[in-house]
């Protein structure tokens, strides 16, 4: 059986299904931002954006753009009924203070000790893209990562230990890739779901960390 890895929307949708009503959720830039598109509008999930929006709603109609309302990716959004605004220090108080039920970030690598690396490919890289990821990663109640299972060159991104500079230590709880969903437990990565046709053996071949069956 052929396997068809998920595309970006597929990964986002996979993640979206697992976000229960009532959670406060921050979505990082990139694929995580797409997650909101796959949460049904009638499911009350409150999305937080670092720039001080609590209750980010879907994109506006092209003729109804509010130029003063963007998300952390600087994309025009709407405010959900019940939403409100805070300034940047209070917005990160929400993140750092443990008020986010969930943060979903992209990453270069995650490791079986829960480490995440998502801001630089080497310690010497001059142009650093830290943004708010470190604050979000240490502060959220749960950190989920959405990323391709391997690099374009086929190198594993699910590692025993991260090889790139860390964003935070020991914080990752779950990973959605284009091939599988992995939970991080005290024993290491446990496979919770795989795309049709994928086997544990084939998945392990694409993974540096040891995988346990769920």
């Amino acid at each position: 059986m052929d396997i068809t890895p998920l595309d970006r929307n597929g990964m986002a949708a996979w993640c979206a299904r697992d976000i229960p009503e009532g959670w406060l959720v921050n979505l990082g830039i990139g694929i995580p931002t797409l997650v909101a598109d796959f949460v049904p509008a009638d499911r009350e999930v409150i999305f937080h954006a670092e720039n001080g929006v609590i209750g980010v709603g879907p994109a506006p109609a092209p003729d109804a753009i509010n130029p003063f309302l963007i998300n952390a990716s600087t994309t025009h959004v709407t405010l959900r009924t019940g939403g409100s605004y805070v300034h940047h220090a209070d917005s990160f108080a929400i993140a750092r203070g443990g008020h986010l039920d969930l943060c979903v970030l992209g990453a270069f690598e995650v490791a079986e000790n829960g480490d995440i690396a998502n801001w630089a490919r080497s310690a010497d890289e001059p142009v650093k893209q830290v943004g708010g990821a470190m604050d979000l990663a240490i502060g959220a109640q749960r950190l989920w990562v959405v990323m391709e299972h391997t690099t374009r060159e086929g190198e594993p991104r699910i590692r025993q230990r991260c090889t790139y500079p860390l964003t935070a230590k020991g914080v990752v709880k779950r990973v959605y890739t284009n091939l599988a969903v992995l939970d991080l437990t005290a024993h290491g990565f446990v496979v919770r779901d795989m795309i049709p046709g994928m086997t544990l053996e084939a998945l392990q071949e694409r993974t540096e960390a040891r995988l346990l069956s769920g």
């Binding site: 998920l6 597929g10 996979w14 009532g22 405010l79 009924t81 019940g82 605004y85 220090a89 008020h99």
Partner: protein, 243 residues
């Protein structure tokens, strides 16, 4: 064909988190004082909003007295005048420790303190507010010149920063915050009236379980976003107690 997770029937359950997986509208209103007070354990630290009579959740304090939790640590601006709900908690022997910025000699807390019958921790008022903000904001410690040159610094860690002696202060989190709002909606978004904010928004951030009494109920969306002072994400339960 592009992969699309919506085609899969298997769903990763989140029941392990102890959260309901069935969709359920957010509604933080509780409809009885008993429901508002459910689960407050003996030994809890209670953050108690208000300044003077303004913004003080007196009905919730009465509810706490009814509820029966004991061995409490109460955090409030002051030790309470005679006739206040704090005095009632104290007189019922339900308070193990009082954390506040001052105690009036002519009050039950003052008299208990003078007799050595009450543990009291006195904190400068601004430091008290900031320690609760730190708890809510994930700041694990901070330095302030407030009190560094005083008796309150005795035996504590200080550090000179920019030529100024500073005290190291730690967060002051609560198990429960009891606060009063002017208006609330089902998400728990709160507004306050005039000077009735005082400690309430800070305590809402700093407690694991924030219980608000509100004088008015608003439909979701009725409170203008720019007037919401405490976003509902900081609030767990709201009880309507009309003025």
């Amino acid at each position: 064909m592009t992969g699309d997770a919506r085609q899969f029937t298997a769903t990763v359950s989140t029941a392990a988190d102890g959260r309901a997986t069935l969709p359920r509208m957010i509604d933080k209103f509780v409809h009885s004082m008993a429901d508002a007070m459910t689960g407050i354990a003996d030994g809890s630290t209670i953050l108690l909003g208000g300044f003077g009579d303004v913004g003080t959740p007196t009905a919730l304090l009465d509810g706490l007295i009814q509820q029966g939790a004991r061995d409490l640590t109460i955090v409030a601006v002051a030790g309470g005048r005679d006739g206040s709900a704090i005095e009632q908690l104290l007189s019922l022997g339900r308070v193990r420790k009082l954390i506040c910025s001052f105690v009036r000699p002519a009050s039950l807390s003052g008299r208990l303190l003078q007799r050595g019958d009450l543990e009291v921790e006195i904190i400068p008022q601004g430091t008290m507010a900031e320690r609760m903000r730190a708890a809510g904001a994930g700041i694990t410690g901070f330095y302030t010149p407030t009190g560094a040159d005083t008796l309150l610094a005795e035996g504590r860690e200080t550090r000179e920063i920019g030529g100024r002696l500073c005290l190291l202060e730690y967060p002051l989190p609560g198990d429960v915050a009891l606060i009063e709002a002017w208006s609330a909606d089902r998400w728990g978004n709160l507004t306050y009236r005039d000077s009735a904010q005082n400690f309430n928004p800070v305590m809402a951030m700093a407690a694991k379980l924030t219980i608000a009494m509100t004088r008015n109920v608003a439909a979701l969306g009725e409170l203008a976003p720019e007037t919401i002072v405490t976003p509902g994400i900081f609030v767990n339960r709201v009880l309507h107690v009309p003025l």
